[in-house]
């Protein structure tokens, strides 16, 4: 959600107040304004703004559901993170996952979108096949993929067998499970990436690519020099958007591996969930500290991406 806001705010700089209007709004306009915004504002305050402050406070408390009081313990929860070996693992897995998932999804998306950006027969069938992955829930997706990648009976091992690759343990293997999750999530996000790139491709005037062709540029050169730069705003959006979602990976891990085997797929949000609601921990203080840590990571990643992106992105104005 954050990116959408930032993007749209940049796209539409705020209009200045029109000159000549009265400085103080009329009472009736005031009342109407308040009446219109109150329902939404109350809910957003209660379930959005208040929790942000509350969990910040909790991250400085020793807080679990069963203790009668919640003493302030300063930075103890944050200090605990420094010494928690599982947190270090979870950060590592989250970064590895993000580093594979984001470029993977973008490559698949741009490749398919370029292939689908033409009027040929059956094109709507191809496009619909890609779009369909947008509708499937993460849980359905994970459930299909643990069956496809089942070590004993899964069809992927059968295909491997056909080409002479030995049987793999996939989600039961500490060295492979995370990569299977990368593959299933790339599949699940393909539709979204294709839609975004297709929309951007359709915004590129044909005159530009035709002009390049007349000037003697080959197809690849036209793509490299014309299409790719014009797609860069969409690419920046996808980098930011996919990264935010990748850092919050949870559903697929919960359903397919529960963080295992041996913590090899424990990512930050899964660990946070375990601390807060898994088992009977209700370790709200520590979980809040992890949540704020995640928040900071997301902000830092997004800021870096916008900063680097501003230099690389080409705008057609």
């Amino acid at each position: 959600m954050a990116v959408r806001a930032v993007l749209e705010r940049r796209a539409q700089p705020g209009r200045r107040r029109q000159p000549g209007r009265p400085a103080r709004p009329k009472a009736r306009e005031q009342a109407a304004g308040w009446a219109f915004v109150t329902p939404a504002v109350v809910l957003i305050m209660l379930f959005g703004v208040v929790p942000i402050v509350w969990s910040a406070v909790m991250s400085f408390q020793r807080n679990n559901l069963f203790s009668p009081n919640t003493p302030f313990v300063g930075l103890a929860n944050y200090r605990q993170m420094l010494h928690d070996p599982v947190i270090a693992q979870a950060i590592g897995h989250t970064i590895v996952y993000t580093a594979l998932f984001v470029p993977g999804t973008m490559l698949v998306g741009i490749f398919l979108a370029v292939a689908m950006n033409r009027k040929i027969r059956f094109i709507s069938v191809y496009r619909t096949a890609a779009y369909a992955t947008m509708a499937i829930s993460t849980i359905s997706e994970a459930l299909v993929f643990i069956w496809l990648f089942d070590p004993s009976y899964g069809i992927v091992n059968y295909l491997f067998h056909l080409v002479g690759i030995p049987q793999q343990q996939f989600l039961s293997s500490t060295s492979e499970a995370l990569y299977v999750i990368v593959i299933m999530t790339i599949w699940g996000w393909t539709g979204f990436a294709v839609v975004v790139y297709l929309a951007a491709l359709q915004g590129i005037p044909q005159a530009l690519t035709e002009a390049a062709a007349i000037d003697g540029a080959g197809r690849w050169a036209t793509f490299r020099r014309i299409t790719l730069p014009l797609l860069s705003p969409a690419s920046l959006f996808l980098v930011v958007w996919l990264t935010i979602n990748a850092l919050q990976l949870f559903d697929e891990v919960y359903l397919s591996t529960q963080g295992g085997p041996l913590n090899s797929t424990t990512v930050l949000v899964y660990y946070l969930y375990q601390q807060a609601f898994g088992g009977a921990n209700f370790n709200f203080g520590y979980a809040s500290a992890i949540a704020y840590f995640l928040f900071v990571i997301i902000i830092v990643f997004t800021a870096i991406q916008f900063r680097v992106g501003r230099r690389l992105v080409h705008y057609r104005s």
Partner: protein, 303 residues
């Protein structure tokens, strides 16, 4: 490659149009099909395999090599899955939650978005800024207090909004800062003259909003509705925390619970999975252009 490739390449001068020594086979169809057909097979295969497994007998599903086309249709997995878990109930819960959330969002976010776009009132800037901060924050930061607040709501205010009720899945998402922001931006692009003219003609503010503004906002409202619907329908983490009674579960949560109870009964699991997928697939294909447009809208805003 506008110029046709000549057959005689012997002494032809090297130009970008005619590359010597390369014979192009002319396919009777666009070569892009050679890329798109395999890609589509990979994209579709999980869906295909899901359906195939769901109509196999357990013994067939575990055969090696796998059977790509079962010899006969066996729907007993579906009846068994329905006996093992109330998928009908999950579907009704999901539908109630998603539809209510969409309606609530469209109503409340358009009212608020309109007021933020057009009216001037005390505290407008502050309220708007406060709401915007929630857009930056990931759900994991707010979910623990949200859990406590929902629990409190259920105990002290309205039981149906508390934990273990589908109300708990609706109320926290009934109005979102994103929806308000999105519609405010849209309303600001509308020409104000229509509204002013209607006001001059004596229409009150609600009438102007209902009769003039909303009819112009169709595309924005349908985009928001499609986004909200998919988010609500596929939401998992919040229902997982807020609900643990089977009869209050939505489809993703019900399916996950079903999976943990029958983790190796693949035919049963896939039958349950098909049942939980069919409704959203129907909705998705019926309203495909709205869903596609809403996804494109998030990416097209330009940075």
């Amino acid at each position: 490659m506008a110029a046709p490739i000549t057959a005689a390449t012997t002494a032809a001068p090297v130009t970008p149009a005619a590359l010597p020594g390369r014979h192009r086979v002319r396919l009777p169809f666009s070569p892009w099909h050679l890329v798109l057909v395999p890609a589509t097979i990979v994209l579709i295969f999980p869906f295909f395999w899901l359906v195939i497994t769901s109509i196999e007998t357990p013994a067939e599903a575990l055969r090696f090599p796998p059977i790509l086309t079962p010899h006969h249709l066996d729907f007993s997995n579906y009846t068994q899955a329905l006996q093992a878990a109330p998928f009908g109930r999950f579907f009704i819960n999901s539908a109630v939650v998603a539809v209510t959330t969409v309606v609530a969002n469209v109503v409340m976010c358009s009212l608020a978005g309109y007021a933020f776009a057009r009216y001037r009132f005390l505290g407008r800037g502050l309220l708007f800024a406060l709401m915007m901060t929630t857009l930056m924050v990931p759900f994991q930061v707010t979910m623990i207090p949200q859990y406590i607040i929902t629990k409190w709501l259920g105990i002290y205010v309205v039981g149906e909004f508390g934990l273990n009720h589908i109300g708990a899945l609706i109320v926290p998402n009934a109005a979102t800062a994103f929806g308000v922001f999105f519609l405010r931006q849209f309303f600001r692009t509308l020409p104000i003259e229509y509204e002013e003219a209607a006001r001059v003609d004596g229409a009150n503010r609600l009438v102007v909003f209902w009769r003039i503004v909303l009819p112009l906002a169709g595309p924005a409202l349908s985009t928001l509705a499609a986004l909200t619907f998919l988010d609500s329908w596929n939401n998992f983490l919040w229902p997982l925390i807020a609900v643990n009674q089977t009869n209050q579960m939505t489809l993703p949560l019900g399916l996950a619970t079903f999976q943990s109870a029958h983790s190796t009964e693949w035919t049963l699991l896939m039958a349950g999975n098909v049942m939980s997928l069919i409704p959203i697939m129907i909705v998705f294909f019926a309203a495909q252009r709205y869903f596609v447009r809403s996804a494109a809208a998030t990416g097209l805003t330009g940075i």
